[in-house]
């Protein structure tokens, strides 16, 4: 079904260098990339960042087609961003089309914003594509650890994220199942005006909420039955450990970010 085309937030298992990196390295690397993408100003900087991302995609051994597909759901936002920037920036007018004016500055800014967005999406989806949700939240928990002293509930946040991530596919599957069951009874989720369509969703949303609450209940009981009592004193089955490749990757990222960020 259509939900299955969602690449964002999906994890593709693999055994490439990128997959094997410590999640903390990948999270910090992605953070650096985001900073870099906002710091650079000019196409050379973007081109270099794009090259870096391309290198990571190549190293991850994921099919390009699949990485690029992640852009599709955000196409509307992307077009809107580029369009608004192109048409609404004031400056030297290149041409007018009815009430729309295109300026040189607008064109440049639109293109830059577009590139920035594309690179942001691709860069961040490389993190989620190559890191399993468990590793991801483990990484976040460890990284947030030092802030626990000032009252950041690191473990609870990580646990909430784990559960939320874990339930995305489950709920999508459930949605699909209920949709099918109602479609088998002649429900129509595709046609009609806005109000009609919203009304048509009731037979989908009510069972979905009922089942979400039921699942939440069951999960809470299952967790308590296995002695879950929050993060205190909890040990880990898989301890995170920095390897040599992490040091290399981290070093390269920092050098790259600093050099490109300052020069361009």
């Amino acid at each position: 079904m259509r939900f299955r085309n969602l690449t964002i937030g999906q994890h593709i298992p693999g055994n490439s260098v990128v997959h094997r990196l410590d999640p903390r390295t990948k999270i910090l690397g992605t953070t650096l990339l985001i900073v870099l993408l906002f710091a650079v100003d000019g196409f050379i900087g973007y081109a270099l960042a794009a090259l870096a991302i391309a290198a990571v995609v190549h190293l991850s051994e994921l099919p390009w087609r699949y990485v690029l597909r992640g852009l599709r759901p955000l196409l509307v936002i992307l077009l809107l961003t580029v369009g608004l920037n192109v048409f609404l920036t004031e400056g030297e007018v290149i041409f007018r089309l009815w009430f729309l004016t295109v300026t040189r500055e607008g064109l440049v800014r639109g293109l830059m914003m577009g590139t920035r967005l594309v690179l942001l999406i691709m860069g961040t989806s490389m993190l989620t594509l190559t890191t399993s949700p468990i590793q991801l939240t483990d990484g976040i928990e460890t990284l947030l650890g030092p802030f626990r002293r000032i009252g950041v509930p690191a473990h609870e946040l990580a646990m909430m994220m784990t559960i939320a991530l874990r339930f995305i596919p489950t709920l999508l599957e459930e949605t699909e199942k209920i949709m099918k069951a109602q479609m088998a009874r002649g429900a129509d989720f595709q046609s009609g005006g806005l109000m009609q369509r919203a009304k048509n969703l009731i037979p989908l949303l009510v069972p979905l909420f009922v089942s979400a609450f039921r699942r939440a209940d069951e999960l809470a009981i299952a967790m308590e039955a296995r002695g879950y009592r929050g993060g205190q004193g909890r040990t880990k089955f898989r301890e995170l450990r920095f390897q040599r490749i992490d040091a290399v990757a981290m070093g390269l990222s920092i050098i790259f970010t600093v050099v490109v960020g300052i020069l361009f």
């Binding site: 009874r185 002649g186 129509d188 069972p207």
Partner: protein
């Protein structure tokens, strides 16, 4: 209402690294008025197969005809097909949504555009088929019912469309023995009284042996065996190699034979087994 599949293959998540073949080259025909049991180990493609019978899934390759209509052709009104081929999913009570039972059970016929008086009449009939009282329940919330009753209301929601083919995916999963028995009896009654085609997916060899007049055994997305229950359960070794078994009584007859009692092993019900044992022992009851 016959259903015909020709060289149907279906692939989940096509063009992604997670792509999997769920059905491979399945061809079969289900005639009007048959009671077909579909069995197979978990993941053998049973659920995928039945979703092709009413166009919820369309084959990746191959063709499906329902009542002579090609479901894979462009512009086929799948909604009309689905009014005729009713489908009860696993745990159908999870799809209940209505504020009242009347609203929920009437959802299908109302979507079919029937006048309200006819909808009410159909809800009344559908509830009667599953042994529930219309007057008593129509204004109740389906969420206040017991598990077994919820299941019946959900099945009634499909019956209310008065389909000519009824597909049920493990309708008795998670019910107690009494509830199982009752629901299966009700399905049997509907099959006999209304003469509709019934397709029953089940993990219980006893149930399909007792009810169905034809069995289709699925394995790894292919039809492994197809025949009458007696024919299928004669292939005990094949079934066991697929991870399936025989009905308990049939198993018992096989063991008796192995111990030297010359019984006929084509026995599917307890009653028939009793008769056969009495016959072989040459005695009176």
């Amino acid at each position: 209402m016959s259903i015909r599949l020709e060289n149907v293959s279906f692939r989940y998540l096509e063009d992604t690294p997670m792509e999997t073949d769920a059905l491979t080259d399945v061809s079969l025909e289900i005639e009007d008025g048959e009671f077909v049991g579909i069995i197979g180990p978990t993941g053998s493609g049973k659920s995928t197969l039945i979703q092709h019978f009413n166009g919820l899934l369309l084959p990746t390759s191959g063709k499906v005809w329902v009542d002579g209509v090609d479901l894979t052709a462009k512009g086929t009104q799948l909604r009309l097909i689905r009014q005729k081929v009713g489908m009860v999913f696993q745990y159908p009570e999870h799809q209940l949504f209505g504020e009242t039972i009347l609203e929920d059970v009437g959802f299908g016929p109302r979507n079919g555009g029937l006048p309200e008086a006819e909808v009410v009449e159909r809800v009344r009939r559908a509830l009667a088929y599953v042994g529930l009282d219309f007057e008593e329940l129509k204004d109740q919330s389906p969420f206040e019912l017991s598990g077994g009753q919820k299941r019946r209301v959900a099945i009634a929601g499909v019956l209310a469309m008065e389909p000519s083919v009824l597909i049920l995916d493990e309708p008795t999963a998670g019910l107690d023995p009494k509830g199982r028995e009752e629901i299966l009896d009700e399905i049997c009654t509907i099959h006999k009284e209304r003469g509709i085609t019934v397709i029953l997916v089940s993990h219980s060899m006893e149930d399909v042996a007792r009810l169905a007049d034809r069995l289709i055994v699925m394995h790894r997305g292919r039809v492994a065996l197809d025949g009458t229950p007696v024919e299928v359960f004669r292939q005990a070794d094949t079934l066991k190699s697929l991870g399936l078994g025989l009905p308990q009584v049939t198993e018992l007859m096989h063991e008796l034979k192995a111990k030297g009692l010359a019984v006929n092993t084509d026995i599917l019900t307890v009653e028939a087994a009793e008769e056969e044992i009495v016959r072989v022992m040459g005695g009176q009851r």
